[in-house]
Symmetry: C2
Subunit: 274 residues, 2 copies
Amino acid sequence: MRAKLGIIAGGGDLPVKLLDACRRQGRPAFVIGLTGSAEPRPEDGVADAWASIGSVGKILGLLRDAGCTGVVMAGNVRRPDFATLRLDWKGIKVIPRIVAAARHGDDHLLRSLVTIFEEEGFKVVGADQILDDLLMPAGPLGRYDLPPALMPDLERGIIIVRALGAVDVGQGAVVAGGDAVAVEAAEGTDRMLARAAELRAGWTVRDGLLVKLPKPNQEKRVDLPTIGVATVEGAAAAGLAGIAVAAGATLVLDRDALVARADALGLFVVGIRR
Amino acid sequence: MRAKLGIIAGGGDLPVKLLDACRRQGRPAFVIGLTGSAEPRPEDGVADAWASIGSVGKILGLLRDAGCTGVVMAGNVRRPDFATLRLDWKGIKVIPRIVAAARHGDDHLLRSLVTIFEEEGFKVVGADQILDDLLMPAGPLGRYDLPPALMPDLERGIIIVRALGAVDVGQGAVVAGGDAVAVEAAEGTDRMLARAAELRAGWTVRDGLLVKLPKPNQEKRVDLPTIGVATVEGAAAAGLAGIAVAAGATLVLDRDALVARADALGLFVVGIRR
């Protein structure tokens, strides 16, 4: 019997996919849905328990009572409003550290959470350690490759995303014809792509690309850049020619569906080594 | 009789204000409205001629025929779609340089335009050289000052905007509680603030600030950061406590109205020296 895994579940499909993988691997798992972030959908019904993000004591207690030794944090979590967050006893104890870390950006915030779980004796693992086919490979994922004409936009995108990442802001940017159409902060990739679509309304030729890269010193267990079918559709709606992400450091959700959609829409999705 | 000034007018109020200032100063001026960027409003009726941004030959000819020696570029101009831009003979001649510059960002693009006007014998001046009360002073502009509790957000905002500026992306960011709520690219400050308002919906306490700074090597004659009444209202709608801009390197439009609105809404607007 393998060690039991606690899945702390935010929004999106990743937590369900992790649970499916655990079941396939015969690995026992316990899912704590985060109130307000994980959407309780009747067809899932995967959460064994629910907790708000401020009830740190409850979350630790649930994990211990369930016999979990490892923990994975997966899915989208909105940064809480610390001023109005309801805290339990353990939450009150750890919140000053979290708020202090949060002042320096999301990556510091997530690192402080990892440290808290580790101090409580849990092993924190990355989603890619459970779902081993989740990581982006190098090269094109589907039928189309990055055209040489877009190399300058790729280079400019890499420079921009690295600059953003170095100050712990975001992981993505849309570049077309050298223009930084949109750069990503708290709104996330999908909203950034929707904005790019508005700004580029009336595009006549697919041009430019979305570049998504991890931050230089990123805590890779909790917040790797992620792409899915919605990313491909958002990039297509913005008139982009494709998507470039870091090979070996990007989670690809629903790979088969993503490739099918990218091929159908004529978009490239490439993993770059940098 | 002072040298005649050509005003190449984009959108917004700045071109009209420049023309008013020229009239007050007894300085002859000739206004070329940029089709698609300057809005022809009946109450203005200020444009002596109209030209599209691709008809560079026409613009140069109009300036020469009008006897202009100096040129000021003022107001918002949307970056054109170079693929569909209609060019005249001179436009065709200079467009390769402009497109090559544009690949490196807006600042390079604007610099290439300045160089083209200078090569044609025009003196390019900044709007602040005409409207001398336009530049932001150091310190608070209205009744409220930056509270000490927001110094960490100001510091983080400065770091973020400098990083953006160094890669020629944008001039602004919204930071609250250490979180990079939104960073600005092609969408401009007003849309970035609208996004911050959406992301911060339900805010209960004014917190955080907008930081706007020129890019490190900015061509200061054509694209200084600008704030106006709409900036104050956008910041208020996003639940921000105020606005920090670079003293001596920011254009303040409608200063009296801006101060009145900021005071009424309880927002600080400060000029910082960095």
